[in-house]
């Protein structure tokens, strides 16, 4: 039982990280219909920026955080302006491929910075492990998890109650109609990329706090897409729940199935589950069922 609970908790913590990344991808997909591979890099660079400001330039934590957020937001904005905006109205898979190209572009820079090593962000989250009976929760991870939940709350509130949120929701539904009511869809795209980059930045910092920045960090991006799909590409609550479910599933399968089949099942189990879920619910757990008319 303890083992099960421990796996559950580990899964929950990992799932929180997945959920954040997935949310940033969902944000972009929801409003622009582009599934982005570039978010793996945005996530990694969020962490890199914080590393630069905190560890290299030795700025105070708060300033470093603000600067890192600003830099990541700028990065998101730049990606949107230079690569995705010119592709509005072009085939969607061209946009998808362009995000892959962006991934490669930044991957080169990322490798230049990391140089095949590890960068450790000075720990600013509480260290140590909380014990509850036989169960263990690393405090830093718990903090990130709570931060993720709060962020999801903020996103939800923003979407529900602010004017920008209203514009985002409206343009997510119908670009042309949104434009006819005076919403600048281009501006909305920029805003959404900034928000999405910020979420990815938080995810990056939280992930790097657990795993450090090392050279495979950007490859989280694909995992993020999988999780986003799991919850439904258009649903932000779906990203949260999908992320958590996937985190738990991965850990449970590693915990209980690995010894049976001889290892390495953690990732594959997630993919098998994804296939099963998609067969039952083709638009993910919470995705919008698109009503098709001929």
């Amino acid at each position: 039982m303890t083992e099960f609970l421990q796996l559950l908790i580990s899964g929950l913590m990992e799932g929180g990280l997945y959920a954040l990344l997935a949310a940033s991808i969902v944000l972009v997909y929801k409003s622009t219909q582009v599934a982005s591979l570039a978010h793996g890099q945005i996530l990694a660079f969020g962490a890199i920026f914080l590393y630069i400001f905190l560890a290299t330039l030795h700025l105070p934590l708060v300033i470093a955080l603000i600067l890192a957020f600003a830099a990541t937001a700028l990065m998101g904005l730049l990606i949107e302006r230079t690569t995705l905006r010119p592709l509005i109205g072009q085939p969607l898979f061209s946009s998808f491929l362009v995000t892959f190209a962006v991934f490669m572009l930044f991957d080169g820079i990322f490798q230049l910075i990391v140089k095949g090593g590890t960068l450790t962000i000075p720990h600013f989250l509480p260290a140590g492990t909380l014990h509850a009976g036989a169960l263990m929760v690393p405090a830093g991870q718990l903090c990130s998890f709570i931060a993720a939940l709060i962020l999801f709350g903020i996103l939800g509130l923003m979407f529900r109650y602010t004017k920008v949120g209203l514009g985002l929701r409206a343009s997510a539904e119908n670009h042309q109609l949104a434009r006819s009511t005076g919403i600048s869809v281009k501006q909305i795209f920029s805003i959404i990329w900034v928000i999405s980059a910020l979420v990815a930045c938080v995810a990056g910092i939280a992930t790097a706090n657990v795993t450090d920045i090392y050279y495979t960090l950007p490859q989280m991006g694909i995992k993020g897409l999988i999780v986003a799909l799991f919850g439904g590409l258009e649903s932000i609550p779906g990203a949260l729940i999908g992320g958590i479910i996937l985190g738990i599933l991965e850990n449970l399968s590693a915990g209980y199935l690995d010894p049976v089949v001889g290892g390495g099942l953690k990732e594959v189990a997630a993919y098998i589950m994804l296939l099963l879920i998609l067969l039952i619910k083709p638009y993910g757990l919470f995705g919008l069922v698109r009503i098709e008319r001929i």
Binding site: Y29, A35, L37, T82, T83, P86, L87, Q90, P91, F93, S94, F96, L97, V98, F100, A101, V102, F103, M104, L105, F106, D107, G108, I109, Q111, L112, K115, G116, I222, L225, I226, L229, L233, V261, G262, G264, L265, E267, V268, Y271, I272, L274, L275, L278, L279, P282, Y283, G284, G287, E292, I294
Partner: protein
């Protein structure tokens, strides 16, 4: 317009339907050039072409399922692996001749493709695309964990023999690969103008409407997957016998992304586009690969690995610029070129 063999070779594709004597002359000329190429082309260029042709076969398959039938698939390397392993197991463990194993491995990959394509009956668009990523990982995991595939060690298929004459060098394999590539190209080209091809296009453009018009969606979607994986299987088999090894590390998701990239760069739903895309990416990739030793020679202070990293960035950058200015692929420009000059009035 004919600076080298590769460029010419693509012409033959455009001439699948020949109208005039000049076309025949061009086709024959191109074929001769193609088949005589190893006599004057350097070893490296020949092996480069081998690689290119095999990629063309894979991407042609992808073009059919994605470009024509609209089901984006990232599963191509996995099905290549299935074909490669099938061929290796058939020739090594069952003693089947390569010449039988080659089509068989295509068929086996095709059957796996039907299984892999099954989700397409319910899933569409990005959901399907990413579901095929899942299929890729599951397949590779199976290969790594099964006994018959040699698990982590892979298998070593032998080079094919023809009347006791082994095709054991790149130059010798070149003829086989080029021939298979031509056959597959003509097959693909004719397929897409047949009833089946039109059904694919109808499904791509609006599958619901296609279904309402009385098409059996399941039948055609699975057929598309079968055909595409057949291509992948054939390519996998050829590749395995060319490099004489099949190993789990050969088939990566990055390749899958590249294959999709190639059809987008070349142009979705265009057989010549497949050629453009494959050639563009392969040549660019080769250039970047070799730019890094140059870079580190030219700028010693840069060191080898930063130069490599910059190469990666440069590749990304070229790709971005290309997509931003040519988002509909090279085939689009090719069409404009053809239309504006009316030099090659093919029925298309």
């Amino acid at each position: 317009m004919r600076p080298c063999g590769i460029f010419d070779e693509r012409y033959t594709q455009d001439m699948a339907i020949l109208r005039t004597k000049q076309h025949w002359a061009l086709l024959v000329g191109a074929l001769i050039l193609l088949y005589l190429f190893p006599l004057f082309g350097s070893y490296y260029l020949v092996s480069f072409l081998n690689n290119l042709f095999i990629t063309i076969i894979v991407v042609l398959g992808l073009q059919i399922v994605s470009g024509y039938c609209g089901q984006i698939s990232f599963g191509q390397p996995a099905f290549m692996a299935v074909g490669g392993y099938a061929s290796a197991i058939l020739t090594l463990k069952a003693g089947v001749s390569f010449w039988l194993a080659l089509p068989l491995s295509g068929l086996i990959a095709g059957v796996f493709g039907i299984i892999g394509g099954a989700p397409s009956l319910r899933i569409k668009g990005f959901y399907l695309a990413i579901a095929t990523i899942a299929i890729h990982f599951v397949t590779m995991w199976l290969i790594l964990h099964l006994k018959i595939t040699g698990a982590t060690q892979g298998l070593n298929p032998m080079p094919p023999e023809i009347f006791g004459f082994p095709l054991d060098t790149d130059e010798r394999m070149y003829y086989l690969i080029a021939t298979v590539m031509l056959i597959m190209t003509f097959g693909a080209r004719n397929l897409v103008r047949s009833k089946v091809g039109r059904a694919f296009v109808a499904i791509r453009d609006n599958d619901l409407a296609a279904e309402v018009m009385g098409m059996n969606l399941y039948h055609y979607k699975l057929l598309a997957f079968f055909i595409s994986c057949f291509f992948a299987g054939i390519a996998g088999s050829l590749y395995g016998h060319l490099i004489m090894v099949v190993h789990p590390e050969q088939y990566t998701l990055t390749h899958a992304l590249w294959y999709v990239g190639m059809i987008i760069i070349g142009g979705m739903g265009s057989i010549p586009g497949t050629f453009f895309g494959v050639i563009f990416v392969r040549v660019l990739d080769e250039l970047v690969l070799f730019a890094s030793p140059f870079l580190s020679e030219a700028f010693p202070w840069l060191g080898a690995s930063p130069a490599a990293a910059l190469g990666l960035s440069a590749f990304g950058l070229v790709l971005i610029v290309f997509l931003v200015f040519e988002p509909r692929g090279l085939a689009h420009r090719w069409e404009i070129f053809k239309a504006s000059y009316r030099l090659y009035p093919f029925a298309y």
